[in-house]
Each structure stands twice: as C-alpha cells, then as structure tokens.
C-alpha cells in the first residue's frame, strides 16, 4: 500500500499543533488529554478521509488498528509481565490461518481433513473469530507451559524457536498454500454488517480494539494485574511472598495469545490473504518494535507505537525505495535515548504505572 496524496504531511502538521498544546498541560491532565485526543482522531478518521478525498486512508488506518491490537496483546505480557516473547507472531499468524482455513473449506466446499466429522468450514465471524482466539490460546498454553519454565535469554530463544517451528510447519503444508500462502476469497460474515465496506470494517476493528483496551486496562489494575507487575519487578520477592508465579504468568501469556489470535483473524479479513510470513520471527520483532517505540507498560503506548511505525513506513516508502535503511538507526536511537517511547515523551510523569 503506497502513501497517497499529501495527507500524511497534513496529519503531521495537525499533530504538531496538538502536541504543542498538549505539552503545556500538567502531567496528570496530559494523560487524559492524550488519550481523548487519540480517541477522537480514531473515531473521526473516516470523515477526515472523506474530507481529504483519500479512501486509502481508511484502509491504512484499519491496518494500524489491527497491529495496534496485537501490539497491545504483547504489551500485556512484555510491558506488564516482563516476558520478552519473541514468538508472538505465531499467535497472530495462527489466528489468521484459522480464519483462512475455515473460509477456504467453506468456499471450496471441502471437508476439513484433520478434524472429526464432516465440517466444511464457515465464513461466520461469530464462529471463526472466537475459534481463532481459542486456537491461539491453546497454542499459547502449550508454548507458555514449556517456555515459562525458563527465563532470560533462554525464554527469548525458546519462544522464538516455537514461532519458527510453526512457520516451518505451515510452509510444509501444501494444502494451505505452503510457502506461497492462501488467498481468502470471502471476508467473514457478520449479521447486519458488510465487512467489504472499508468504513464498516474500520469501525469493527476500532470497536474490538477499544473493547480489548478496556478489558486489558481493568486487567492490569486488578489483583491479577498487580501480581503480574510484581513478577516483572521482582519475581524472587513474589515467590517469597508465596505467589505461584508460574501460574499467573502462564495465564497472562494465554490471554495475550488469544488477543493476538483475534488480531490475526482481522488481519486475514483485511488483506484477504494468509501466509507463513505472519509467523516469522522478524514479524514478531516488528511487533516488539511497535511496543517499545510507543512506550511499553502503558497499553496506549502500544497503539501509538503501531500507528507511528506503520505511518513512518507509509511516509518513508513514499520518499525513497530504500526507506528501510532509516528504520534501523531510528530504532537504535529510540532504544538508546528515548527508552520510554513516544507515550512516555508525550505524557511524561503522568504515565500511569497500572
């Protein structure tokens, strides 16, 4: 998807103006202001697009929302739980494949070989999407159960290894496209909604993202969330207090996997394609970049990070074919000097820790 028209620049200027106003407000008020501004922007986006006569804007924005969702799911375990999972792409990709496989069979009218019975799949969102979440959740349970027995770099490597295993697995299954992936000829069906319409799809994604954000916000402030944060800050101490740390981390890992699966289901609809590339570790790396860029441990930061990274890609790829060469050093600079990410910069001390 290429950048179209002057809109990125105009949005940029608009944001600069907002930023100026923002930075003069006190820290606590700042958080509210940032969040409300963001929310308004997201809600009104399709109208902005109509105004600027740029229909592609909505498509790009949907993509941002989808990646924001998976970034939020990663922030849950990374920013709050301290689990550096380098295999999150696996849950994202698997959720997408669930939708892809179900649609494929429904479209072709063939039964799904590896399941009992004669099910020919379905395009009903109310079956597909929860199923995507459940399947991703089960994978997260298996991966987490094994990986969480390790820590540190071993944990990173094991999660990475699992993602790679899934990647190779999908490549070697020719029925579902193998290395070339699977085209999805029908989007999911939702009663009363036409997901082929960009605006409807956009608002569907937005509603789901806001719902998940709300749930996750409550989660991290709850007793469960406090335990999770405690595990990140000082796991030894938590164990000494009697908390069976493994159980809590695993639960968080599964919840995170399920949300990533939902994002995958949306992605399959959005691009009308699924491929093993979704599970490649470099994809997991990109998601992690979004979380860090935006500011981990705040959930909103993940949204900001996804938006920033994808917009940066849009803008830069319009300028030069070799825009990727800037991404690396930008990432390095952020890691070295702006560790709290964009959200941290915007909100400063007001950034809540829960």
């Amino acid at each position: 998807m290429e950048a179209k028209g002057p809109f990125p620049g105009i949005r940029g200027i608009g944001q600069m103006m907002f930023l100026n106003k923002l930075l003069s407000v006190n820290p606590n008020g700042r958080t509210k202001a940032v969040v409300i501004t963001g929310l308004l922007l997201l809600l009104l986006l399709p109208f902005l697009a109509a105004l600027l006569d740029d229909p592609f804007l909505v498509d790009i924005a949907s993509r941002i929302l989808i990646y924001a969702l998976v970034a939020v799911s990663l922030d849950l375990i990374l920013g709050y739980g301290g689990m550096v999972s380098f295999g999150h792409g696996a849950f994202f990709g698997l959720g997408a494949y669930v939708v892809g496989i179900l649609t494929h069979h429904s479209y072709e009218g063939t039964t799904i070989a590896f399941l009992p019975g004669d099910w020919e799949g379905t395009t009903q969102a109310f079956i597909q999407w929860p199923l995507a979440m459940i399947v991703s959740g089960i994978l997260a349970l298996m991966v987490g159960a094994l990986s969480l027995r390790t820590s540190g770099v071993y944990f990173i490597m094991i999660t990475l290894a699992f993602a790679q295993m899934l990647y190779f697995l999908m490549i070697s299954i020719p029925t579902y496209g193998g290395e070339d992936g699977l085209n999805i000829w029908e989007r999911s069906e939702v009663p009363f909604l036409d997901l082929y319409d960009s605006q409807t799809f956009y608002y569907t994604c937005l509603v789901l993202l806001l719902l998940c954000l709300w749930v996750c916000k409550r989660l991290v402030k709850s007793r469960f969330g406090m335990v999770l944060q405690g595990c990140r800050q000082n796991e030894t101490r938590m164990k000494a207090l009697g908390y069976p740390v493994y159980r809590y981390k695993l639960t968080a890992f599964v919840i995170s996997g399920m949300i990533a699966g939902l994002a995958g289901a949306l992605s399959a609809n959005h691009t009308e394609f699924v491929g093993p590339g979704l599970m490649h570790w470099t994809r997991s790396g990109e998601i992690m970049v979004m979380v860090i860029l935006g500011g981990m441990g705040s959930l909103f930061g993940a949204v900001l990070g996804a938006a920033s990274l994808l917009m940066m890609e849009e803008v830069l790829s319009g300028l030069t074919e070799h825009w990727m060469i800037f991404l690396g050093p930008i990432l390095v600079v952020v890691v070295l000097f702006a560790r709290k990410g964009l959200y941290g910069l915007l909100v400063g001390k007001g950034a809540d820790n829960g």
Binding site: V153, I173, W281, I292, H322, M324, G328, P329, V335, L336
Partner: protein, 308 residues
C-alpha cells in the same frame, strides 16, 4: 536404502554443517558470555562476509584474496559496530540489546540491497576444489566440503590455542566467568571487548565467505543462520567455546540426518505424499526439539561457562 556409503556421506555433510555453525557460534557465544551481549546482527556480519568474498573474488579472480577481504570487511564492520552502538548496550538489559541489534539487521539488509542490488549473487567454487575426493571408497565426496571441514577444524584448533595459551585467551576465560574481576584487575576492558568482538566478527565473515560457493548469496541469509547459531549456543552453553563446538556438531548432525533420512523413514510408515510433508516439517523442527530436550536435561546448556 541406507548404505554405509550414504551414511558416511551424510555424516560428512553433518560435520561440514557443524563446522560452519561452529565458526558462527564461537564468536557469538564469546560475546554473549563475556560482554553479556545478545547480538542479533551477528548474522549480518556473515552476510557481509559472503557478499564481499563474492565481489572481490569476481574482481580479482582469486578466492584466497576474496576470503581475506571478507575477513577484513567483517572485522572492520564488526569493530565499527561495536564502537558506535554496541558499546552502549553492555549495561542494558537483554530486551534493549535485542531491539537495537534487530534494528541493525534492518539497516544492514537495506544497505546490502543498496550496494549490491536486490538479486542474489553467486560465487563459484574455486577451481582447485571443484572436484571430488574418494575419501570414502565408492563414494566420491566434494573436495570443497572437505576443505571447509579442514578449515573449520583448523580454526577450532587455533582458537583453542589462543584461549589456552595466550594472555588474551586467559583474559577471555577469566572474563567469561568473572566479568567484574577482570575489570578490577586493571585490564583495559574496552580494548579486550573490542578484540573479542573483532575475532567473533571475523569468524562470522569467514563462515559467510566459505558458505558463498554453496548457497545463494542474498539478503536475509544472515537471519537464517542466526537462529541456528543461537540454538547451538543455547545447547552448548553460553560463553563456552567448547560448548559451541559440541553444540554445533550436534546440531549439524541432527539437522543433516533428519533431512536425509526422515523422508525414507516416514515413507515406511505412511503413503509418499503425506510422508514427504511430515518429513519436511519434522526435519525443520528437529533441532528445536533437540534444543528443548537439552534444556530440560541441562537448563543452562551442556557446558555452562559463566556463573549464574
């Protein structure tokens, strides 16, 4: 049809792959063990080695000069990288290191695309080594692969000599197990780190150069071998060069045997098309299963070098 010749041939393949992995793993494990730095850009140094070897060999018509150039390029790139970016990451947590070096991967991939274009490069096997040697009676084996095995084992011996018999080596051993002590002893830590990093970078560049004639030299080749390399050092134990050797040979063997023999084994159990699919998946995941198995038995790898 498993014959002795086939088995020996595959064993040599496994040995050759193992030796290549060792060249990569040795540098990575030293850097990780001594400086506690996870460096994802290690694969990029391999890629640099391959590209430079290919270009210089083409230009000068000499593989030897190509290898030397690769060593130089990888070494210089590595040391520049260490000096400008990596140095600031030593005290950061692993997540920061992973992210920053991931950024470096993106940078190098694009840089290579700019300098050499997006198509793959090819390096032909040097004339001297294009033939086969009847190492195993009845099974001629490619001379070039034998050359790699020999070169790799030579490097292993040199490395062993360096670590055991020289002053730098002693510092490396001390640094792997007692980082703070070495600093406290007044050794110029910065210089030690740069040297260690340089050695690792050159080994990676050598691996890339040697791999050149056997694969397509393209962007992304670094990442493929990087994962395998990490699996090797996890299995071998972080910080241990001996572990890197054992781990590399183990991984090389398991991977090679898996790819070679699983299809036929699976065909005994199920019909051919399913067998091939299953075999393909199984051989890809074989080394990860190996890693998981080792970690269950020895959570810190086979030869844990540094404490904690």
């Amino acid at each position: 049809m498993l014959t002795i010749e086939l088995f020996l041939e595959q064993s040599l393949n496994g040995l050759q792959q193992g030796v290549m992995l060792f060249l990569m793993a040795a540098g990575l494990t030293l850097v990780f063990g001594i400086m506690s730095l996870i460096n994802l850009a290690h694969g990029s140094l391999y890629m640099v080695g391959a590209y430079v070897a290919a270009s210089v060999t083409q230009a000068t018509d000499s593989f030897v000069i190509g290898i030397l150039a690769a060593l130089g390029a990888a070494g210089v790139t590595g040391m520049l990288l260490e000096y400008s970016v990596l140095r600031r990451l030593y005290n950061r947590d692993h997540l920061d290191q992973v992210l920053a070096t991931f950024g470096m991967i993106l940078f190098f991939n694009e840089l290579v695309k700019i300098l050499w274009g997006p198509q793959a490069l090819f390096l032909s096997t040097p004339e001297l080594l294009t033939g086969t040697l009847e190492f195993i009676p009845g099974a001629p084996y490619p001379s070039y692969r034998l050359f790699i095995i020999a070169a790799g084992l030579l490097v292993a011996l040199l490395l062993r000599h360096l670590i055991i018999n020289t002053r730098v080596g002693m510092l490396i051993r001390a640094g792997a197990t007692h980082r703070e002590m070495v600093g406290a002893l007044g050794v110029n830590i910065d210089r030690l780190y740069t040297i260690v990093f340089g050695i690792g970078a050159m080994l990676a560049g050598l691996a890339g150069a040697l791999a050149g004639p056997m694969l397509a030299i393209e962007v992304g080749m670094g990442e493929k071998i990087l994962i395998l390399t990490f699996v090797v050092i996890i299995i071998g134990g972080i910080g241990s060069v001996r572990g890197a050797l054992v781990g590399a040979l183990l991984v090389g063997m398991v991977d090679t045997y898996g790819r070679a023999f699983l299809p036929s084994i699976m065909r005994q159990l199920m019909e051919p098309s399913a067998a091939d699919s299953v075999a393909a998946s199984m051989s890809s995941v074989a080394i990860y299963v190996l890693m998981a198995a080792v970690l269950i038995w020895k959570p810190r790898g086979l030869f844990q070098a540094y404490g904690g």
